[in-house]
Amino acid sequence: MFQNVVLLCLAIMSISVVLTVMRLIKGPDLPDRVLALDTLYINAIALIMLMGLYLRSDLFFEAALLIAVMGFVGTVAVAKHLLRGDIIE
């Protein structure tokens, strides 16, 4: 049963990812895309956690943590790039 719930969640998250990617492709502007990318990162955390639950393995915690960190840094970089061009000034 539990496995099925996890699978259901995975399906929900898949829809979520698809919506996010649709926005990513559609844009229309760069900030939209960056926002979608940021969301995609967070969705990815969910996917990873769900996968861990499904496999009953906690080996994916670090990956999730790292996605959070890296997603943030990536978003900051792009946003900074949009604002100032130079991200390290």
Binding site: S16, I45, M49, L50, A68, L82
Partner: protein, 112 residues
């Protein structure tokens, strides 16, 4: 180690709620008419959704092993810390790019 039934239910509920919140965030991202409005979806719903998921996972793995598993909470904390800053920077970028807003919007964004 077997997980107690009630805990499984709880975890299931938590992750289901979390997933749904994340979905809401993504729906918002897709559905809302302008960038500034779309910004609200992911920054809140998705963050919370993932937060719920993480807590579910935390409970699950605490039951799986001896002692509790709390480190998942770090992810939630981290997301709560960073989401506002991302949103802030993206909003600034959007204002800088003078993105169109829905006509209903009151108030003015600032010049960057």
């Amino acid at each position: 180690m077997d997980t107690p039934q009630w805990l499984e239910w709880l975890v299931a509920a938590l992750i289901l709620v979390g997933s749904l919140f994340a979905l809401v965030g993504s729906i918002g991202l897709w559905k809302l008419p302008d960038f500034f409005m779309r910004l609200h979806g992911p920054t809140k719903a998705t963050t919370l959704g993932v937060g719920a998921l993480v807590i579910g996972s935390m409970l699950f793995f605490s039951a799986q092993r001896e002692g509790i598993s709390l480190h998942e909470v770090l992810i939630t904390i981290f997301l709560f810390m960073t989401a506002p800053v991302s949103a802030n920077l993206l909003a600034k970028a959007a204002m800088h790019q003078r993105l169109k807003r829905t006509e209903r919007t009151r108030g003015e964004p600032w010049k960057q």
